[in-house]
């Protein structure tokens, strides 16, 4: 009996094993260790809805997750879910909304965050808003019973906030409301029969041919061995974006060199696994301008200083099981009047009070680096310099666990001594004591005069003069991945010839085309991907 190509693949999938046959692609000789109709890669706020929807659609589901626990960055998020179009919460509070209005609010050409988005994707996202909100509730997510609020320049209140899952930090990791999204979804996914394999890191997407044919499954690394997992109907990439991958993120913005830390780390890393492995089999990127747009939350001003991970809405709890890796909670700045910011050569470079993107561009500027030594890109570390009076005014306790003295926070008796103490992996050269003294003296003279002659800080209030003195890491921190794989409205991944890659789906921050921050984007597209993959014809 002749063995048809499709028959062989199916038998291979059943564990018949690898048998070299002339004319049969090498990928078809895979020995499949596990199989399911749908394989979801990533157990975050996109992968979990994908898994549940696929199960609801009757598909068997295996979810793999590289981390030792589920949740991804969403576990640490604020659990803020602005979905509209007529959700039950909107109706409860008498708010009238529609999918059309959601679409219009997220395609406004005046809004630079939405200007460069793929409007076909925004349209399907708008259509699925309300249904996704109900899906979250149906799958255990509890929202605060409050009137939805306005966000994202929307014309209609849509924002609802999830409740923290439990008081147990081992479950919530940092006590963030985002745990109230991902933990219930995890429990429902498991209850509905999705199998979740933790510590499985995808290393390969298996396609019939290197850049053609159907995607058959993936290879994941678990402990010291490779595991081949067949996805008969499809593989869904929900790996969470690329922000932690320095080489990848610099494709969109060469300034984003290694000194920029990432919100959500060290809990999980957005290391571009999905994007890179999909690109290796022919996938295209999409909406790449969104990533280097001077808007949005790709790059953010830090607010918790003196620690490595000072993202403004994420303060590490000393009781978190991840705190040892996080290193410190940070000193939360109430007013930038209490400090100056200096660059890698110890000079002020901008008005510290500015919260616009111009401030971030200044941080990412040359900052005294003439580029003579092959390291011209990146703005280098930014340090907050302040004194004992500032500590008193801010009511800070500048000691661990509030700060991380292992390279992110320094104390000294004089400004000159402080300059010599600043040592950090990203501080490539010592800060000159005389330069830092000049910077502080000059700023103090502006305080005396009541006017910042260099950078226009409004009415500079306080000298930096009373010992001891402090230097705290205040370098901008990266957050959103705003570009990724090209997908269509079914979340099917598109190749560089603009053709669908059969059997491959992407959602969440792995997918490009829509630069919307946070949970509303990733939950909606996760749900679409799961539904479409479950409904696909198997290979």
């Amino acid at each position: 009996m002749a063995v048809s190509r499709r028959r062989f693949l199916k038998e291979g999938a059943l564990g018949v094993g690898a048998t070299a046959l002339a004319g049969v692609p090498a990928q078809a000789q895979i020995r499949w260790d596990r199989m399911a109709d749908v394989v979801v890669v990533g157990a975050g706020a996109s992968g979990l809805p994908a898994a549940i929807m696929a199960r609801d659609g009757g598909a068997s589901v295996i979810v793999i997750e590289a981390n030792h626990d589920i949740g991804g960055h969403a576990m640490l998020s604020g659990g803020r879910v602005p979905l509209g179009g007529g959700t039950s919460m909107q109706k409860k509070y008498g708010i009238v909304d529609s999918a059309d209005q959601v679409y219009l609010d997220h395609t406004n050409h005046k809004d630079s965050e939405f200007r460069y988005c793929d409007r076909d994707l925004v349209r399907i996202w708008a259509n699925e808003n309300a249904a996704t909100f109900e899906f979250l509730i149906d799958n255990g997510v509890k929202f605060n019973d409050e009137k939805p609020d306005f966000v994202n320049e929307g014309t209609v209140p849509r924002l609802c906030v999830a409740q923290v899952f439990s008081p147990d930090l081992n479950e919530t990791i940092n006590g963030s409301p985002g745990s109230g999204v991902v933990r219930p979804l995890e429990k429902n996914a498991r209850a509905k029969g999705a199998e979740i394999l933790l510590k499985h890191k995808m290393t390969r997407i298996i396609r019939e041919n290197p850049t053609s044919g159907t995607v058959l499954g993936i290879t994941a690394r678990f402990e010291d061995k490779d595991v081949n997992i067949r996805g008969r109907k499809g593989v869904i990439l929900a790996t969470g974006g690329h922000t932690s991958n320095v080489a990848f993120r610099r494709m969109f913005d060469p300034r984003l060199t290694e000194e920029y830390q990432v919100a959500g780390e060290p809990w999980t890393k957005q290391n571009a696994d999905g994007e890179m492995l999909a690109m290796a089999i022919g996938a295209s990127l999409w909406g790449t301008s969104n990533q280097s747009n001077d808007a949005g939350r790709g790059v953010t001003k830090t607010r918790h200083i003196g620690v490595r991970y000072g993202y403004q809405n994420l303060k590490w709890n000393p009781k978190s099981p991840m705190f040892a890796q996080a290193g410190g909670s940070g000193l939360t700045i109430r007013s930038f009047q209490n400090l100056i910011l200096v660059n890698q050569v110890g000079q002020r470079f901008w008005n510290e009070m500015d919260n616009s993107y111009a401030f971030l561009s200044a941080c990412l500027g040359t900052n005294g680096n003439l580029g003579r030594n092959g390291k011209a890109n990146g703005g280098g570390p930014i340090w907050a310099i302040f004194d004992a009076d500032a500590v008193k005014r801010e009511e800070w306790d500048p000691k661990p666990p509030n700060v991380d003295p292992n390279g992110w926070f320094f104390t000294a008796d004089t400004i000159a001594e402080l300059a010599g103490k600043i040592k950090n992996p990203y501080q490539l050269r010592p800060i000159s004591a005389s330069v830092l003294e000049q910077s502080v003296n000059k700023y103090n003279s502006y305080v005396d005069a009541g006017k910042d002659a260099e950078f226009g800080k409004p009415a500079p209030m306080y000298k930096i003069q009373k010992p001891p003195f402090y230097a705290a890491w205040s370098t901008p921190i990266l957050h959103d991945t705003l570009t990724g794989l090209k997908i269509n409205t079914k979340c099917q991944v598109i190749d560089r010839s603009d053709q669908v890659i059969p059997g491959l789906y992407a959602c969440g921050e792995t997918a490009g085309g829509f630069a919307l921050h946070g949970l509303p984007r990733v939950t909606v597209f996760g749900r679409i991907a799961g539904r479409e993959a479950a409904g696909a014809n198997g290979s």
Binding site: A263, R297, Y311, N441, G450, M461, Q465, K466, H479
Partner: protein, 201 residues
């Protein structure tokens, strides 16, 4: 001086801090400030001398460092000293030096003409009318901070100034202000609304 001490004076990396210098200062008056000296080798600097030099390099004041490091520091020996400021108004860049370590540091101060008037400010919270402490009042280079009764005074010459009233957590208030006489000014400032939680993350 012992030989070792003399060598330390030459070799040890030493730095200085200058603080609590009032600003502005009325021309010709005395002013007080604190100076601290830190030796990177951890030398005990009690009784070591520091000097204040004007812009010509002339010594205008000397003092010996005290026996206890400044609180919160690991070894900043300090002293407090008075000196008379110049009779000319303007910005002055002077220096403080330490024989130990041959260290020096610049400091700036502003001198102004004698005042014509005294302004008394009474600062209250807008909603409760209760006095507000630690409110920064500025009229260009002239500044003061309110006490527990919400009161403070500023002496200054007549003229037009940029008045700025600021306290962390309160709305910033600023306006042009003509100083024409001695009087009391009532200022109300409102609590700044808590910023709405950012949607980001």
């Amino acid at each position: 001086m012992a030989l070792e001490e003399a060598e330390a004076d030459q070799q040890h990396q030493t730095s200085l801090a200058v603080w609590d210098l009032a600003c502005p200062v009325v021309i010709g008056r005395s002013v007080r400030m604190k100076v601290g000296v830190k030796c990177s080798a951890g030398c005990q600097l009690t009784d070591r001398e520091i000097e204040i030099h004007d812009q010509t390099g002339a010594v205008v004041a000397r003092a010996a460092l005290g026996s206890e490091p400044w609180p919160g520091t690991s070894g900043l020996y300090w002293t407090e000293l008075d000196f008379r400021v110049p009779a000319e108004s303007g910005t002055h860049k002077w220096a403080v030096t330490s024989a130990h370590g041959n260290a020096f540091s610049n400091f700036d101060f502003i001198t102004v003409q004698p005042p014509d008037h005294t302004l008394t400010f009474r600062v209250t919270e807008k909603a409760t009318h209760s006095p507000l402490q630690d409110v920064e009042i500025r009229l260009d280079a002239y500044r003061a901070s309110s006490d527990a009764q919400g009161l403070t005074t500023i002496e200054l010459p007549k003229g037009n100034y940029a008045l700025s009233v600021w306290k962390m957590g309160y709305e910033h208030f600023s306006t042009d202000f003509d100083v024409t006489d001695t009087r009391t000014i009532e200022v109300e400032i409102a609590v700044e609304p808590e910023p709405k939680q950012l949607y980001w993350m």
